[in-house]
C-alpha cells in the first residue's frame, strides 16, 4: 500500500472521529444550557478550551454565548476544527484514497458530506439543533457501519482504526483535563451532590452517562468517573480502551509486514503504564500531570506512526 494512502485513511478517520466528538460536546453544552441556564456560559467556554479554540473564537467574535459557539463549532469554515471543516477534510482524504475504500464506505462518506453541506449551509436555529446533531451522528454512523461491514480486515483497516483511536484517546483526555479539578477527591464530599453539573457534562461529552449508570448504579463519584474514563477497558472511549485498540492494530501491522518499528515500542509502554495502574495511583501522581503526559505520549505516537509508515516523504 502507498504511504500516502495509509496517511489518507488515517486522517480520514481522524477527521470523522473529530466531527463526532465535536457534535457530542455541542450536545452536552446544549443540554446544560437548557437544564441549568446559569452555568451555561462557563460551559461553552470550557468546551472551547477542550477543543483548544478559545482564542481563535475570540478573534472572530466578541462574546461567548450559545449561538456564537454553536455556530463556530458547527459550521465556521474559518475554524479548522468545526464539524463542517472536519467533514470536508474527511471527504477530501476519502477522495484521495478512494480506491482503498469499498464503494459502500466511499458512498457513505460522500453522502455524509453532501447531506451535512446542505444541513449546515445556514446557521442552525435552536429548535433545529437536536435534529441537526442527530443527523450528524446518523451520517457518521453510516460511514462507520460501512467500514465495519464491508472493508477487508487488512492493513487498510488497521490505518482507519489507528486514526480513529488516536483522535478519540486525545479527545477523551482533553475533556478530562479541562475539568480535572472537579474530579479531584479533595472536592468530593461523600454523597453530597448527586446532581453535580460538571460530572454530568463530562459523562455526556463522551456519551457515557447511561453506560456509567449501568455499571455503577447510583454511585456517581469523581473517582468513579475518572476510573471509568481512564481505566475501564469496557468503555469504548476510555484512555485504556483507545490505547489497547491502537496496540492491537499496530500489532496486526507488525505481524502482516514482519517489521517492528518505533511506534510499536511506544504504544507498548503506554499500554503497560495503564494496565498496572489504579485510579488511586493516578490521583497520587496528579490527575492533571497524568493527563498531560498521556496527551504528549499520544501526540508522539501519532507522529511516529506517520513516520514509520511513510505517510509523507
Amino acid at each position: 500500500m502507498l504511504g500516502k494512502t495509509a496517511g489518507g485513511l488515517y486522517w480520514m478517520f481522524r477527521f470523522l472521529e473529530r466531527s463526532e466528538n465535536t457534535a457530542r460536546l455541542i450536545e452536552a453544552g446544549f443540554r446544560i444550557a437548557l437544564t441549568r441556564p446559569l452555568s451555561a456560559e462557563d460551559e461553552w467556554a470550557s468546551i472551547l478550551d477542550t477543543i483548544g479554540v478559545r482564542s481563535a473564537y475570540l478573534d472572530r467574535r466578541e462574546t461567548i454565548d450559545a449561538a456564537g459557539v454553536v455556530d463556530f463549532l458547527l459550521r465556521d469554515k474559518n475554524n479548522p476544527t468545526s464539524i463542517m471543516s472536519a467533514i470536508q477534510n474527511a471527504r477530501d482524504n476519502a477522495r484521495l484514497v478512494r480506491i482503498a475504500l469499498t464503494r459502500e464506505v466511499w458512498e457513505a462518506t460522500n453522502e455524509c458530506w453532501i447531506t451535512l453541506s446542505d444541513a449546515l449551509k445556514r446557521p442552525v436555529r435552536d429548535r433545529d439543533l437536536p435534529s441537526v446533531l442527530s443527523l450528524i451522528r446518523h451520517q457518521s454512523a453510516q460511514v462507520r457501519g460501512a467500514l465495519h461491514g464491508t472493508m477487508l480486515r487488512n492493513d487498510l483497516y488497521n490505518f482507519c482504526r489507528l486514526g480513529t483511536f488516536i483522535e478519540r484517546g486525545d479527545n477523551t483526555a482533553r475533556i478530562l483535563d479541562v475539568k480535572y479539578y472537579v474530579l479531584l477527591p479533595s472536592l468530593a464530599q461523600i454523597g453530597s451532590s448527586l446532581d453535580n453539573v460538571q460530572w454530568e457534562t463530562i459523562l455526556r461529552s463522551v456519551g457515557g452517562q447511561r453506560a456509567y449508570r449501568f455499571l455503577h448504579g447510583g454511585d456517581v463519584s469523581p473517582p468513579g468517573i475518572a476510573e471509568f474514563m481512564i481505566l475501564d477497558g469496557r468503555m469504548p472511549r476510555s484512555l485504556s480502551f483507545c490505547t489497547a485498540k491502537i496496540a492491537d492494530n499496530l500489532g496486526y501491522l507488525e505481524m502482516d509486514y514482519g517489521q517492528r518499528v518505533q511506534s510499536h515500542d511506544q504504544v507498548g509502554r503506554m499500554k503497560g503504564a495503564l494496565v498496572g495502574t489504579t485510579i488511586e495511583q493516578v490521583f497520587e501522581y496528579g490527575l492533571h500531570e497524568f493527563l498531560l503526559d498521556f496527551l504528549a505520549d499520544m501526540a508522539r505516537l501519532g507522529a511516529s506512526i506517520e513516520e514509520d509508515y511513510r505517510f509523507i516523504s
Binding site: M1, L2, G3, D92, R95, R98, I99, I114, R310
Partner: protein, 475 residues
C-alpha cells in the same frame, strides 16, 4: 409528422417508423409512462451525485464539482454498423502507431514528401527526446479515443484521434451500470454487447506492454495530477477497477534504475505507468522544471527500458490538428489501403489559398485552434454573432498557422428525454481503443456525448453537453 428534419435522426431516420436498431427500444418506450421515466431520470442524477461521478470545471471562480448530465435514452448502433466502424478505427489506430514509430526513427514519410517536414519539425507536440526510442512492445498509443460524428445513414467522419490521454471511459462504464440498475427489463428484452470488462481488458493490454525488467505479474499504477484535476474521478475509478495503485508525482522516486512508489513498507518498483498527466509535466528533469505533477528522472528510466509509460511520450504529434488533415495519406502510406473512415474536409489556414477561402466563409465554417481542446478557443460560424466573427477574424489573420477550418457538419441527432417527451439533439461518439503488441481491442460502443441545448452542435461537457449510454446490439 411536420417538416422533414434537416438532420439525420438516428432513431427516426427519414420516415415515421423508427430505424431498425431502435425498433425494440421504441416499442418499449411507447408503453412507458413519461412521469415514471422522469422520475427515473432524477434517480439517475442522485446516483451519480452519491457515487461522486463529478468533474471540475476549469476557469470557474467557484471550483465546484459538477455532474455531467446523463440522458436515459440510449444511442443504439446495429452490429453491422459497429463492425464497419471498428474496422475503420482499427486501421486508423494501426496507422497512427506505425506513423509514430516512423516519425521517431527513420522518418520515411517525410522523406517521401507525404507530409511537410516543417509541420513536424516546428511542432511542439513532436518530442526530440523520443527520437530513436522504441517503447516496450513497440506500442505508442496504448489507449486511443477516436471521436466520430455521423451525418447520414452510411456517413461517418473521424473528427479527432485522441492519442494522448483520452478521457471519458469511466462515463461509458457508469452510464451502462446506471441503465442496468434503472431498466433491467430493457436488457432482458434487447441484447446489448457488454462494456463492463473494459478495465480488465485495459489491465491485460497494459500488462502486455510491460518492460523486460518487469516482474512476472507486472505492477501497474495510474499517475494522476491529483484530486483537483477535472478527471480525478476517472483516474481513481480506473485504478480501482484495474487493481492498480493511484499515484501522484510525490509518491515516486528513482530507486536502482527503476521508478518506485513509496509504500508503507518502503519503495516498490512500478512496471507500467498509465499516466494521466501531459507530456510536459511528466518529468521536471526533462521537460517543465517547475512541474510537481511528474516523476523526476522518469524519462531516463524510460529510455533505458526500465518502465512503460502509457501512452508513450510524444504521441501528441499524431493527433495534432495540423497533422489531422494528412491522416488519409498516413493511413495509405503505412497500411497500403485506402482509409475506411473518412476525414472531415479540412482547410489548413497556413496555406494562403485556404486562408483566403476561410476568411471569406467564416460564417459557415468551424474554425479550431491547432492545439486547442475541449471546445475552447473555437469559432462555430453559423452560431456566432457578427462581433464574434470579427474578433475571430483578427485572431485568425494574425496567426493563420494556428488554425484549421472545417465545414459545419450536419451532425446526426438522437432523441433525449425532455419534460415534453422525446426531442432530437446532436451527438458524437468516442469509442475506446486498446493497443497491445499483438492486438487492437475496441470496446463495443463508447461514450456518446450529446448537446443538450436545442440546435447546439457543441457536445463538450465543459460547454453544457451531456452523455448517453451507447448500445451496440448483438448480431
Amino acid at each position: 409528422m411536420g417538416e422533414p428534419p434537416k438532420f439525420f435522426d438516428e432513431m427516426r431516420g427519414q420516415g415515421d417508423t423508427p430505424r431498425a436498431p431502435y425498433g425494440s427500444f421504441y416499442d418499449w418506450f411507447g408503453g412507458e409512462d413519461l412521469k415514471r421515466l422522469k422520475q427515473k431520470s432524477a434517480e439517475a442524477e442522485q446516483f451519480f451525485r452519491r457515487t461522486g461521478i463529478t468533474f471540475n470545471v476549469y476557469g470557474e471562480a467557484e471550483a465546484d464539482e459538477r455532474l455531467i448530465p446523463f440522458d436515459i435514452v440510449p444511442r443504439i448502433l446495429s452490429a453491422a454498423e459497429w463492425t464497419k466502424l471498428s474496422k475503420g478505427i482499427e486501421q486508423r489506430v494501426r496507422a497512427i502507431n506505425a506513423f509514430l514509430y516512423d516519425i521517431y526513427h527513420r522518418q520515411e514519410i517525410l522523406r517521401a514528401g507525404r507530409i511537410p517536414v516543417e509541420l513536424v519539425a516546428n511542432n511542439d507536440a513532436f518530442l526530440p527526446e523520443m527520437i530513436g526510442v522504441t517503447p516496450p512492445g513497440g506500442v505508442y498509443t496504448h489507449i486511443v479515443g477516436t471521436d466520430l460524428v455521423r451525418t447520414g445513414e452510411n456517413q461517418f467522419y473521424v473528427l479527432e484521434d485522441n492519442a494522448r490521454t483520452p478521457s471519458g471511459v469511466s462515463y461509458m462504464l457508469e452510464n451502462r451500470e446506471t441503465m442496468l440498475q434503472m431498466f433491467p427489463e430493457l436488457f432482458s428484452r434487447i441484447k446489448v454487447q457488454q462494456v463492463s470488462n473494459y478495465p480488465m481488458r485495459l489491465r491485460r493490454s497494459l500488462a502486455a506492454t510491460a518492460p523486460r525488467a518487469a516482474s512476472k505479474k507486472p505492477v501497474l499504477a495510474v499517475l494522476t495530477p491529483g484530486i483537483h484535476n477535472s478527471a480525478y474521478f476517472e483516474h481513481a475509478f480506473l485504478a480501482d477497477q484495474m487493481g492498480a495503485e493511484l499515484i501522484e508525482g510525490h509518491d515516486l522516486r528513482v530507486v536502482d534504475g527503476r521508478i518506485a512508489m513509496r509504500t508503507t513498507r518502503g519503495y516498490k518498483a512500478i512496471d507500467v505507468i498509465y499516466r494521466r498527466v501531459d507530456d510536459e509535466f511528466l518529468d521536471p528533469l526533462t521537460f517543465r522544471p517547475e512541474s510537481l505533477l511528474g516523476a523526476p528522472g522518469v524519462m531516463d528510466v524510460y529510455r533505458a527500458g526500465g518502465i512503460t509509460i502509457a501512452n508513450a511520450p510524444g504521441t501528441g504529434i499524431a493527433d495534432d490538428k495540423a497533422i489531422y488533415s494528412y491522416m488519409p495519406d498516413i493511413v495509405e502510406f503505412y497500411t497500403g489501403e485506402k482509409a475506411i473512415l473518412e476525414n472531415v474536409p479540412t482547410w489548413r489556414c497556413s496555406e494562403p489559398e485556404s486562408l483566403a477561402y476561410v476568411l471569406d466563409h467564416l460564417d459557415e465554417l468551424v474554425v479550431k485552434e491547432v492545439h486547442g481542446s475541449g471546445g475552447y478557443g473555437m469559432l462555430v460560424g453559423p452560431a456566432a454573432s457578427k462581433k464574434e466573427i470579427a474578433t475571430f477574424r483578427a485572431k485568425l489573420s494574425a496567426r493563420p498557422g494556428n488554425y484549421i477550418a472545417q465545414p459545419t457538419l450536419a451532425l446526426s441527432t438522437v432523441p433525449i428525454l425532455t419534460s415534453k417527451g422525446l426531442a432530437p439533439r446532436h451527438v458524437d461518439l468516442r469509442p475506446f481503443v486498446l493497443v497491445s503488441p499483438d492486438r487492437i481491442d475496441i470496446t463495443p460502443g463508447g461514450l456518446t456525448r450529446v448537446a443538450l441545448k436545442q440546435g447546439s452542435l457543441v457536445v463538450n461537457s465543459s460547454q453544457g453537453g451531456g452523455t448517453k449510454d451507447t448500445w451496440v446490439l448483438e448480431e
